[in-house]
Symmetry: C2
Subunit: 351 residues, 2 copies
Amino acid sequence: MSSLASLSLPVFPAAAIARLIAATGPSECIAGIARHLDTDFRRWPQFDKSPRAACHSPEGVIELMPVSDGVHYSFKYVNGHPKNQRHGLPTVLAFGVLAEVATGLPCLLAELTLLTALRTAAMSAFAAQHLARPDSRRLALIGNGAQSEFQALAFHRLLGIREFHLHDSDPAATAKLQRNLARLGLSSRAFASTAEAVRGCDIVTTITADKTNATILTPAMIEPGMHLNAVGGDCPGKTELDARILAACGQVFVEYAPQTRSEGELQQMPADFPAHEFWQVVNGSHPGRRTAEEVTIFDSVGFALEDFSALRWLQETAAGQGEILGLLPQLADPRDLFGYLPPSASLVRAA
Amino acid sequence: MSSLASLSLPVFPAAAIARLIAATGPSECIAGIARHLDTDFRRWPQFDKSPRAACHSPEGVIELMPVSDGVHYSFKYVNGHPKNQRHGLPTVLAFGVLAEVATGLPCLLAELTLLTALRTAAMSAFAAQHLARPDSRRLALIGNGAQSEFQALAFHRLLGIREFHLHDSDPAATAKLQRNLARLGLSSRAFASTAEAVRGCDIVTTITADKTNATILTPAMIEPGMHLNAVGGDCPGKTELDARILAACGQVFVEYAPQTRSEGELQQMPADFPAHEFWQVVNGSHPGRRTAEEVTIFDSVGFALEDFSALRWLQETAAGQGEILGLLPQLADPRDLFGYLPPSASLVRAA
């Protein structure tokens, strides 16, 4: 007789993560994830890495992003469907699992839509700490959609940025961002064009949504010493920078070159165009920015390791919390899976 | 103010799947999954296929197995950790997701430990319907572990097999299988050696657990006209057949050659050793078995498409059931992810 025992898997649905972020403070969460990113990027060579497994369709993409450090394993499921918005559906949703390598057992299952926004913002600001000029004060946010508040918070928290210049092709998006930033005590200015928003800024984050080869930034907008945080160009056919900016800039930094060359701004450049993996800057083997005048680019596409860092942060921060889901069977005798079935008339007459 | 609305994801934990199988009858479930396998293997070229993404460690392996037919997408998470048994933990656990390609939204999340046993058994018997001699009456089951009852049920249901010869290196496993089969009204005979169990059988299923290059079957055991259903050899370094059996047999059939050549019995053979993908037999483009005397081998490793078929069967069978999990956020305005955070003191002082 089976008791239908199951292994306890802590689950963090969207509402639970939202409450956790609100209670902790999003800025504090971003700082916590950034600490994990720092730890994990320093030991980058320890990770078993691969480009994400993408399933493309005319409407969008569904991706799986696995990574492991030999102790923990994580994967993220994430979609990208720009047309969903027309039907009132989210364009990007994500969830993921952290598991134990030694046993293969999952440790937790969590929504990753909110956590991806946090980790992307943490990654952007973490990279800028190493690549932007130390005297950076003013940030342009081009693209004021779902991730923009988190970007502003991360740069405020990790770099002390207090001046935010905003632009979006849809003024309603900018108005939404200004409202949310005001709620956080952060002041911002809206501009009617990207060129006006970017002028005089030390750092420019591009984080637009259209799946197209766009030229959100053109060479005329770029000023000496700028750091460009190019986040929105993150899959084949989706870019934000005029290729001439890449050709003329000082240095391009990426997360994981095999992935960025097909997904990032680099997809516009020859296969041998020079790019440096950012982890080398973190561990000191590459100097990063060399002069106050050179233009640096972080060609960010989002890498599985960042979700790993976010899930490890969650595991640490929310230990003992989470709804318990009996997803997996607990067998009294591992060889007797059949014995897990409860008694029933259909079972007896099955044969 | 956020209401923390979330998208409803039906979830099928292990206990729910166990109750569903018991209520429906495992034999009926296997027949239903076999119908989906038939439909899906007939339209094999429509699927977007790739070998599984495996993360190997000294203790075992964690795999992701994605596949899509352009309408639905599925992936399975599955581990294989032979040493888990020593610590009272299951050696194999699995769960998976079925999603909609047009929107990227998941349709359901389900345990796949039980469902994998059902679909593997359904696949074995489905292949044997095409490859074994039509007059097959007697099946040897070598390896009497977690999957063996389901194998027996599938061959009974789909091929009318009533004579089961059993052997396992651990007599307790065989005793467990005999008890469970008796409960199902199926009689069986236990043998002290593989050679004795196999003698006079029409079909031999090998489904042993050790992760090693074993020779469970040797050339002397093979009789003319046998069909060998080699299930246990399913990852690099894990095989069950003496390589001479492959070299001497009539024909070898596989699920997906790029995966089987590195994971199946074929890993012992040269890269150009002839093997036929089974879907070609199903759709009539390959004749399958040619004579009553030839030895056929189904070198089965388990392919993502089979989990897809099982999840589609579940979706059809259990429509409207499942626990509802609010894994993913439902946003009033897709661009206002930040607005999903509930009000809190930490939020306001965050900056």
